[in-house]
Symmetry: none
Subunit: 246 residues, 2 copies
């Protein structure tokens, strides 16, 4: 599911665009001025921002600039009636990812939103990271080209993580990827992550799933691969905590 923020003060056009995007199963938020937009972008993670340039209170270019200064690299599509070259260049220079001139065809906007949101994940048929590869069509995960078995949930998690290409995926988005709107209230996510990790270790994958402070998770290459054979349970590591047994 793609989350879009539309920033457009022409309410009629805005409604139009939103209707159209929601037909494509995108979730749309809307801001009618630059200040509101900035605050929304800073607070919530969007997949794409569709940003008009002519805005009350703070123009689109400035919004874009400020967002980039914050180190936020959310994809931004500029939307404007000006099609002069220098306008476009200015837009790109402020950190825009795309620039669409009004009037435009709705399907083109949709296509460009998709391209930015899913860039390199929607069309890509295979995800790779380290010695792990995930075939999108067949839902098969392989390590060194040897297929391994994952539970459906573990697979979904891995897919979502791999699509981020090593970037951090907020916890909330992970929940969303697996359960959609209504996530279980328990620590199910932790358990599934644990299972996924266990599977990856057993398969000798060269990647691991790392937790990032209070934000989310990401996949990384394992720092070291001591080439010793790991017989999966041979070492008396202190994995066991506080249990007297064992």
């Amino acid at each position: 599911m793609i989350r879009v923020l539309l920033v457009e003060d022409d309410m009629g056009l805005a409604g139009n665009i939103i209707d159209y995007l929601e037909l494509e199963d995108m979730v749309c938020d809307h801001a009618a001025n630059g200040v509101a937009a900035l605050s929304l972008i800073q607070k919530h993670p969007f997949d794409v921002v569709v940003l008009d340039i002519n805005l009350p209170r703070l123009d689109g270019l400035s919004v874009c600039e400020r967002v980039r200064e914050d180190g936020n690299d959310t994809p931004i599509i500029m939307l404007t009636a000006r099609d002069q070259l220098e306008n476009k260049l200015e837009g790109f220079q402020k950190g825009a990812d795309d620039y669409l001139v009004k009037p435009f065809d709705m399907p083109e906007l949709v296509a460009r939103v998709f391209a930015l949101a899913y860039r390199r994940s929607s069309q890509v048929k295979k995800l790779r990271f380290g010695n792990v590869s995930l075939a999108m069509g067949s839902d098969v995960v392989s390590v060194e080209n040897v297929p391994i078995k994952l539970s459906p949930t573990a697979f979904t998690l891995l897919k979502a993580l791999l699509q981020q290409q090593g970037k951090v995926l907020p916890r909330e988005r992970l929940l969303d990827a697996v359960w959609g709107e209504d996530a279980p209230e328990s620590n199910a996510l932790k358990v599934h992550l644990h299972n996924l990790r266990k599977s990856l270790v057993q398969a000798n994958a060269s990647i691991e799933v790392k937790a990032v402070a209070g934000t989310g998770f990401c996949v990384t290459l394992k720092p070291e691969q001591s080439s010793s054979v790991q017989s999966t349970s041979a070492e008396p590591k202190s994995t066991n905590k506080g249990n007297d047994q064992w």
Copy 2:
């Protein structure tokens, strides 16, 4: 440095584009047909591929499709004379990231290539001071390009200080940066600053955090770096105060 592959069979236009891109310090490779392009893309990592659709031997759409099937997510800009909507949509559907209609302005092509290449390399904004750099997007602090670990609060402090570029940051603003409206009433700030300093020293950073009279704090370059090895606690400095032990 950005590496671009240009796939274009019109040699005149190709030369033109290459000249233009190289003016921008990009390194250009060139292929004149689809098969050659595919093989190059599979062999070398490019930052961006500029791909004409009308090509001998294998058309651009097919090239794009095959690239994506391989799990290769190199950004691709489609280049074509057809500006019909359905052509564009087809391009995006095959996995293109952008679509530019001929004739186009060279600066716009350059801008779009930059946009795609930068996003890819996550070349987001960075703060630097001495040998310390702070990547705004990923919240990673590095010393000599080696990432170091900071607690969230220490990170926030460092970020706020670095944003001042060596100028003094009033104590009150620092409090605000970390806790917002309601700061703790204790000396928490002092403790966090202390931890930050400790981390910086351990990481061999060339900067330090200085206190300024009754006003605030700032970062400065360390005056001297006696190149002796610091084993973190080797020198019998009078760090210890008034304690009988030791």
